[in-house]
């Protein structure tokens, strides 16, 4: 084991609302400021306070894009995190825990799911261990994990004393203590932790001072007590590292929307989409290059039907307009989507998928809505469905979605998922000029022309010039009914066929206009026959796994589909023909992309690797599944599941 790790995973767990989030952010920032690359993954229940949540921060010199099942260091304050995650710590790794939590009987941990409790108890009984957190710690120690019991009460008392504040206040430094203890164990310079403290509590000087004291106390405690423990993982700051921002998925999309011209956004709160709109609300005003203020008008609507129809109204009036939602909200938007479709209105729906069906698992991830969004809406109308695989794509795709909508005059669904939305990662700073803006055919009738304007004029590429309300001489109608060129409802069979065909033609136009890069990307060894097929947030774990196999001398290829509708069937043909085996990787139960692939190309995939527990796939899981395929022991359908995630 090389203690100077290239690739380190830290996990912190605790009840929702107890500050696990900000601890993790502090940890991530400290190491990121130290020049390292950081990838964070967050898991939590659909609950405000009390239920278990945890955060994994993966730190490494080169960027990683996925989480690992096994961590080097687990940090907890209470029993539940301990019992849920002790098993995940690698040999030689460590567990930092409140010494008082060890004696907690499993029976008394309130929110431990019954099945989890029963499985753990069975294990403890089988191993002859006490039915407490301690039992699991024993087992970990037996596996070679180092235990770091921490007297948190004593440490906060020290903080209180050193800072000269009441004990109650010092209590609030618990998370900082935990982060600093962890960093200290890794021998990471404490200045970075202090800098992170200063950032997190920016503007609150007294709080910063207090927490800086806590960092000192923690570092001191580690050097006083754990010098002898042979916990050998080390992380070192890197000099002259590239510039980085630390953002999550909802921020990346929101920043992309702002950067690429959004002026109107509607939303109805829903996990995990809300954060994007709240970010936009908080950043609704921003500078323009000419020194003026730019703005986005953000409206919290009464429901998602209002959200989609209001956003469509704004788009019709000429705003770059979008809404953001998740499964249940999208289900309610379907009628509105069809209206935008038949009226060729450029509106963007940012869809953060979560565990379904129905309310499902609101704070867990899934790629369960793909086929639905492709077919959503009664009747037939074209739409664009675009899926981002990571934060940088999310930022740019937010802009592409807005461009496509106006360019092709159709609703665009930008697909993400909970995993991506809550992924926190260091990435190069986003650039507002990374993408030119394209507003499509916006037309101003000349003064000689008189209304009605022929908004839905037949055209070769299917796209007709549009005139915005308020433009003199451009009066016309729009309607959810089938319509004439001037937008009046009609039931004339000839006009019907013309309009249906005109709208359908935009599919071809889009396919012909977009670059291959925008439709799909090929990663890994482009000549490899062994081909992974996937879309969306699984990109990260697949790329990380590809590297592993590459190191093992096994070349794999990954086809990342980005444009799902219209589907780039023809261009994929050569890749499909040379793929053997073709392995579908998806976060759902039925292999939705594979079904679409077969529908569009006839090609059936050879294997499905599916996970539908609501959690993302880890490198270990994917590696093992691929190994089984490679060594011929795999079933056609491989279902991944981690019982303690």
């Amino acid at each position: 084991m090389n203690p100077e790790v290239q690739d380190f995973s830290w996990r912190i767990g605790g009840p929702q609302g107890s500050g696990v989030d900000s601890a993790a952010r502090m940890f991530a920032q400290a190491f990121a400021m130290g020049g390292l690359e950081v990838f964070g993954r967050r898991e939590y229940y659909s609950n405000i306070k009390g239920r278990h949540s945890y955060y994994d921060i993966r730190v490494s010199e080169r960027a990683h894009r996925s989480h690992r099942d096994q961590v080097q260091l687990l940090t907890t304050f209470e029993a539940e995190s301990l019992v849920r995650h002790a098993h995940a710590v690698v040999e030689g790794g460590g567990i930092l825990f409140d010494e008082k939590s060890a004696e907690m009987p499993l029976e008394r941990i309130t929110f431990l799911d019954r099945r989890v409790r029963e499985d753990l108890l069975r294990m403890l009984r089988e191993q002859g261990q006490p039915e407490t957190a301690q039992g699991l710690l024993h087992l970990a120690r037996e596996r070679g994990v180092h235990l770091f019991p921490i007297p948190y009460t004593q440490l906060t008392a020290e903080v209180a004393k050193a800072a000269g504040v009441p004990a109650g206040l010092a209590q609030r430094t618990l998370n900082t203590l935990a982060v600093a203890l962890s960093a200290a164990l890794l021998r990471f310079p404490e200045d970075y932790v202090k800098e992170a403290v200063a950032r997190i509590f920016r503007g609150k000087d007294r709080v910063i001072d207090l927490n800086v004291v806590a960092v000192d106390v923690a570092y001191r405690y580690v050097s006083d007590h754990f010098q002898e423990v042979p916990f050998q993982f080390r992380l070192h700051p890197k000099e002259n590292a590239e510039p980085r921002i630390l953002v999550n998925g909802t921020q990346a999309v929101a920043m992309g929307k702002i950067a690429f011209g959004l002026t109107f956004q509607t939303y109805y709160p829903i996990s995990p989409a809300t954060d994007e709109s709240v970010y936009l609300e908080a950043h609704r005003s921003f500078p323009l290059k000419n020194g003026e203020q730019g703005s986005v008008v953000v409206v919290q609507t009464e429901d998602e039907i209002s959200a989609i129809t209001m956003a469509t109204g704004a788009a019709l009036a000429g705003a770059r307009s979008a809404t953001a939602t998740s499964g249940p909200g999208f289900s309610l938007m379907v009628e509105g989507l069809g209206w935008a479709g038949i009226n060729e209105v450029p509106v963007v729906i940012t869809l953060y998928q979560r565990g379904g069906p129905s309310t499902g698992m609101p704070t867990r991830t899934e790629q369960g809505d793909l086929h639905f969004v492709v077919e959503a809406g009664h009747g037939e109308f074209p739409r664009i469905v675009l899926a981002s695989g990571d934060l940088e794509e999310a930022f740019l795709d937010a802009g592409r979605a807005l461009n496509y909508a106006e360019q092709f005059q159709m609703p665009v669904i930008h697909l993400l998922d909970k995993a991506l939305s809550s992924t926190t990662q260091t990435v190069p700073p986003f650039q507002a000029d990374a993408l030119p803006l394209n507003r499509g055919k916006i037309h101003t009738p000349d003064s000689s022309s008189s209304p009605p304007f022929h908004r839905f004029q037949d055209s070769e590429d299917g796209i007709s010039p549009r005139v915005l309300p308020g433009t003199p001489g451009g009066q016309h109608w729009v309607t959810g009914g089938e319509h004439t060129v001037e937008g009046r409802v009609t039931e004339d069979p000839v006009i019907r066929v013309m309009q249906m065909d005109k709208r359908a033609r935009k599919i071809t136009t889009a396919l012909n206009t977009l670059s291959q890069e925008e439709k799909f990307r090929v990663w890994g060894d482009p000549e490899a026959a062994f081909t992974l097929l996937s879309w969306g947030s699984t990109k990260g774990v697949i790329l990380d796994t590809l590297e592993r196999f590459e190191k093992r001398g096994i070349p794999l290829r990954f086809v990342q589909i980005r444009l799902i509708s219209p589907f780039p069937a023809e261009e994929l043909r050569p890749l499909l023909d040379s793929a053997s085996p073709l392995v579908d990787v998806e976060l759902n139960g039925t292999g939705q992309l594979a079904r679409i692939l077969r529908m569009e190309t006839g090609r059936e995939v050879d294997y499905h690797i599916l996970k539908y527990t609501g959690r993302p796939i880890s490198v270990e899981e994917l590696t093992e599944a691929l190994d089984r395929i490679l060594n011929g022991t795999a079933e056609r359908r491989i279902v991944l599941m981690q019982p303690f995630e």
């Binding site: 950067a259 011209g261 002026t263 129809t309 109204g313 959810g480």
Partner: protein, 324 residues
């Protein structure tokens, strides 16, 4: 922030279009349409600055018959569509035309919540107590126990009082008119349109095809010998809550409104029933934190330069999350 101001001399004809109208002969909708044409002309609205947003129903077709930007939306959804249009481009005069089913059944949630915003829109509800376009089922304004022509049984759902629902929702201008009293209707549409805020006009609209109970004759009180309807303004009713009115004045005006709103049957009040100047518009509220909103509203803000590059300076947002 009034929706429209007298600028050009216009004629009713400027708002008419040359397409056949497919309402039933004698339908009250004709009256409302005529009044709308006339009102827009008298207000001097420019047709290209007028957006008529229709719901789905016979009523919602009205938008096809106006020279304007016409938006035929979805059943129940004209208000959110209209809100999006108006907020994106506040220069436009936006008039919603919708049915009672559209507004008070499938659209009731939007109605209630639109009131919370008080966006500067004019909402004309065609109140015929039935679902015209789907062949005469009961709408939420049909009283309990009535059995209009095409109902297989008497209506077993009670009716909503649209005036009261508008009040409770927060509409800041509320009026009622009768579809065939065009002069009065014109005056009310004008007032509703110039009111800075969300205006609701309940138009009693006979549907000769399906509503055989509350007919033209009934409204005109052929049985009573006098019209059932009267104009509250004729009786000196003052609907205005002035800006900054003390709470007791507000309460007194609301009480007065509620008394009027409760009247029905042999005496039906029409006219302007509430003008609440004491509530800010949504647009004003936006202005508080986005002072440039009216100069560069969402539909009009330039977003790219000549070369198609974004005009946004992302620096402060990036700095917020910059780590190194």
């Amino acid at each position: 922030m009034a929706q429209a101001t007298q600028t050009v001399q216009r004629n009713k004809k400027d708002f008419q279009v040359d397409y056949p109208i497919d309402w039933c002969p004698g339908c009250g909708d004709f009256g409302i349409l005529n009044a709308l044409h006339q009102a827009m002309a008298e207000l001097g609205v420019e047709p290209h600055k007028l957006v008529v947003v229709g719901g789905i129903g016979c009523s919602g077709k009205a938008q096809y018959y106006v020279n304007a930007y016409g938006v035929h939306t979805l059943h129940g959804r004209p208000l959110p569509f209209a809100t999006g249009i108006k907020l994106a481009n506040p220069e436009l005069t936006v008039v919603v035309v919708s049915g009672d089913g559209d507004t008070m059944a499938i659209g009731a949630g939007h109605f209630v919540n639109a009131g919370r915003r008080n966006v500067n829109l004019t909402h004309i509800m065609f109140n015929n107590e039935v679902y015209g376009l789907t062949k005469g089922q009961a709408s939420p304004t049909l009283p309990l126990g009535l059995r209009t022509k095409s109902l297989p049984e008497a209506n077993i759902q009670a009716s909503i009082n649209p005036l009261m629902l508008a009040l409770v929702s927060g509409y800041t201008w509320i009026g009622r008119a009768y579809a065939y009293n065009i002069k009065h209707l014109v005056a009310l549409i004008k007032e509703a349109t110039t009111h800075p805020g969300l205006a609701f006009l309940d138009v009693l609209q006979p549907c000769p095809t399906y509503n055989n109970i509350h007919t033209k004759d009934w409204f005109l009180g052929k049985d009573l010998g006098h019209s059932r309807m009267y104009n509250v303004q004729d009786e000196g009713y003052d609907p205005v809550i002035p800006e900054g009115a003390p709470e007791e004045v507000v309460q007194q005006k609301l009480q007065q409104f509620m008394q009027k709103a409760a009247e029905w049957g042999d005496r039906i009040p029409t006219g302007v029933l509430l003008v609440n100047r004491n509530v800010s518009t949504y647009e004003t509220r936006i202005l508080e934190t986005l002072p440039d909103y009216l100069n560069h509203p969402p539909a009009r803000r330039p977003i790219h330069d000549d070369k198609g590059r974004s005009v946004v300076d992302l620096t402060p947002l990036i700095e917020e999350v910059r780590i190194r």
